[in-house]
């Protein structure tokens, strides 16, 4: 009887013991199901990147709470500036290099759509690569590559979805042969997947830093952009893994010119991804020590008190560190040959916070029209005209469009947009403008009447803004 009682007590005690925490890597709880990818001939004319889960620049937006993240990243060909005066004929996701960062949480579903818009007309077509096939390879996904990562032709759209099963910082890139060329031309970005319960620390600042290499040479055709040479991919250097530029976030010394902000005493969480395509990164921040390093962005892979983190191509890490006092803390690839090529940036206590809610095209946030025609005109202008025209930033290859509705009447502008080549034959003002702008004619964009109306609405909206309301916009296509 005594024995029985003892056993009963032991059984009751065992029942009261807390059960083991659930295994976050229990594959039976992961979701490996996904519908077949859908490829259509439907195009898309709106923004090149869409989705509440996207961050366009170094500063990361907070996690969007929605369990399904709908993300659009269209492919484009455009000229980007990777260093002062180095304008490179790039291929992009979301019309920027690196592509926007996707942020999600373990268990979230990513619903992805991509239109191959490499065939969209550029203002100066000879400056961008010919349209070609592209694809998307998400390292964050566990899916059939033959189904989801298939290449699509210009004008096609692919849609597929996947569930984020593991936490981490994952690369995405174009996987169309030759993959090396597609990555080296700018087709990459990051997906951040937070642990289901979030991170174990509280950070004051969150930034993403993507390291990559460029391999460029002046275009053999000697094309010019803004008076300087156009740079194109150097295949020989690429295959020999001899980059001309190694950069953070797509720009030589970019975060030296525009440092990231932090205050003394703050904890900075930095999501670092080395996309290569061919070099390692020895990521280091001068003046501090990494309190925590979570290799591959997963807190279960933790190291403490590290000076440098070594990242191979497509490796990543979250590094967290404290800002001990006022100063500028220097991010470098401590492989200094890479740092000397531009892989350098600052986290500075005197930096101004970056602008919030950056728009696509790498532009600063600016005032936006509300009239639907003006909105459509703005989108069209930003995708087709920014290489040659600024909005309030002065003359480029062509005139500044700010004030254009005050300089020209609407009928003249409509004719100019519709048939610039005819105007150049007959109209004295058009002839004078051609002469003033180095005989560089405005290309005929084959605009419809409706599109011309949208452009004019947008130009009228620009000229109705108070002085200084519009910021200078960087070049696009």
């Amino acid at each position: 009887m005594k024995k029985l009682l003892s056993l009963a007590v032991l059984a009751a005690l065992a029942a009261c013991e807390p059960s083991a925490p659930p295994d976050p890597y229990d594959v039976s709880k992961m979701d490996f199901t996904s519908k077949a990818a859908k490829v259509t001939a439907e195009g898309h004319k709106g923004a090149f990147a869409e989705g509440a889960a996207l961050s366009m620049g170094a500063e990361l937006k907070r996690l969007d709470a929605a369990p399904v993240k709908t993300v659009r990243l269209d492919t484009t060909h455009k000229v980007i500036e990777i260093a002062p005066g180095v304008k490179f004929s790039a291929w992009t996701f979301g019309d920027q290099v690196p592509g926007p960062t996707v942020r999600a949480r373990v268990g979230d579903k990513i619903r992805f759509v991509m239109t191959n818009r490499s065939d969209e007309p550029a203002p100066v077509p000879q400056l961008v690569a010919a349209p070609m096939m592209h694809s998307m390879d998400f390292h964050a996904a566990m899916v059939s590559p033959q189904d989801k990562y298939r290449s699509i032709a210009p004008g096609q759209t692919i849609e597929f979805e996947f569930t984020a099963n593991y936490p981490g910082i994952f690369m995405y890139h174009c996987g169309t042969p030759m993959i090396l060329e597609h990555i080296a031309s700018g087709m990459y970005g990051a997906v951040i997947v937070e642990p289901r319960g979030g991170y174990p620390t509280k950070a004051d600042r969150e930034y993403v830093v993507v390291q990559s290499e460029f391999y460029v040479k002046p275009s053999p055709g000697k094309q010019k952009v803004d008076g300087g040479p156009l740079y194109v991919l150097d295949g020989e250097r690429l295959r020999a893994a001899q980059p001309t530029h190694t950069v953070f976030n797509g720009r030589h010394n970019g975060m030296v010119v525009n440092p990231l902000a932090a205050k003394p005493g703050e904890r900075v969480r930095m999501f670092v991804l080395n996309v290569g395509p061919s070099k390692t990164s020895s990521f280091h921040v001068v003046g501090t020590i990494f309190d925590r390093v979570w290799m591959e962005g997963n807190p279960d892979n933790q190291m403490r008190g590290m000076q440098t983190v070594l990242l191979g191509s497509s490796n990543s890490a979250i590094v967290e560190y404290l800002i001990p006092e006022e100063g500028s803390y220097i991010m470098v690839d401590h492989h200094f040959a890479n740092a000397s090529q531009g892989a350098i940036g600052l986290v500075s206590t005197s930096a101004k916070p970056p602008a919030q809610d950056l728009e696509h095209h790498n532009m600063q946030a600016s005032a936006t029209p509300t009239d639907p025609d003006a909105v459509a005109g703005k989108q069209a202008f930003e995708s087709k005209c920014l290489a040659c025209h600024s909005v309030g930033g002065g003359r480029k290859l062509g005139p500044d469009v700010a004030g254009v509705t005050k300089r020209r009447d609407p009928a003249w502008l409509a004719r100019w947009l519709k048939e610039p080549e005819k105007m150049l034959q007959t109209d004295p003002a058009a002839k004078a403008m051609l002469k003033e702008y180095n005989n560089l004619p405005m290309p005929n964009q084959s605009l419809s009447e409706a599109e011309i109306k949208q452009y004019l609405k947008y130009f009228q909206w620009i000229d109705a803004q108070p002085p200084g309301a519009l910021k200078t916009q960087a070049s696009g296509h």
Binding site: A41, M132, M133, R150, A153, G175, P177
Partner: protein
């Protein structure tokens, strides 16, 4: 042998995937030339993309053999694109003058002496529309 396995895998999977890890579409991307595609479709021509089986050890010899074999009435010579690395051939043809079946038959016949053959992957009859080839 490797090419035979690839061909078998392509057939088993209904033309969806290649055993070497390259998607069918990636093979197509290797010879996709947008200027050729745009010009051909404007003229009412069709584009055909082929996997090449049994490549010769010398890529240049394979290229020459394919160029020679693809020279036939109804096929636009200037449209022929070849990727010896990814074993892909593409061409534009006038469907009023020659059928895809006839092209395949002639290619296989002309290439047989070199132990090469072709497997159609996709055909494009309209912009942005790559469709499977039913045999």
């Amino acid at each position: 042998m490797k090419a035979s396995l690839l061909s078998a895998a392509l057939l088993c999977l209904g033309g969806e995937a290649a055993a070497c890890g390259y998607c069918v579409e990636d093979k197509i991307a290797a010879t996709y030339d947008h200027a050729v595609v745009s010009r051909a479709l404007q003229r009412g021509q069709h584009l055909a993309f082929f996997h090449v089986e049994g490549a010769e050890p010398r890529p240049e010899a394979t290229r020459r053999a394919l160029e020679d074999a693809a020279s036939m009435p109804g096929v636009e010579k200037a449209s022929v694109r070849i990727s010896p690395d990814l074993l892909t051939l593409s061409l534009a043809f006038d469907p009023q003058r020659v059928s895809l079946a006839a092209i395949i038959e002639r290619l296989d016949r002309r290439l047989s002496a070199r132990k090469l053959s072709v497997l159609p992957l996709r055909i494009m009859q309209r912009p942005a529309d790559l469709t499977s080839v039913k045999r």
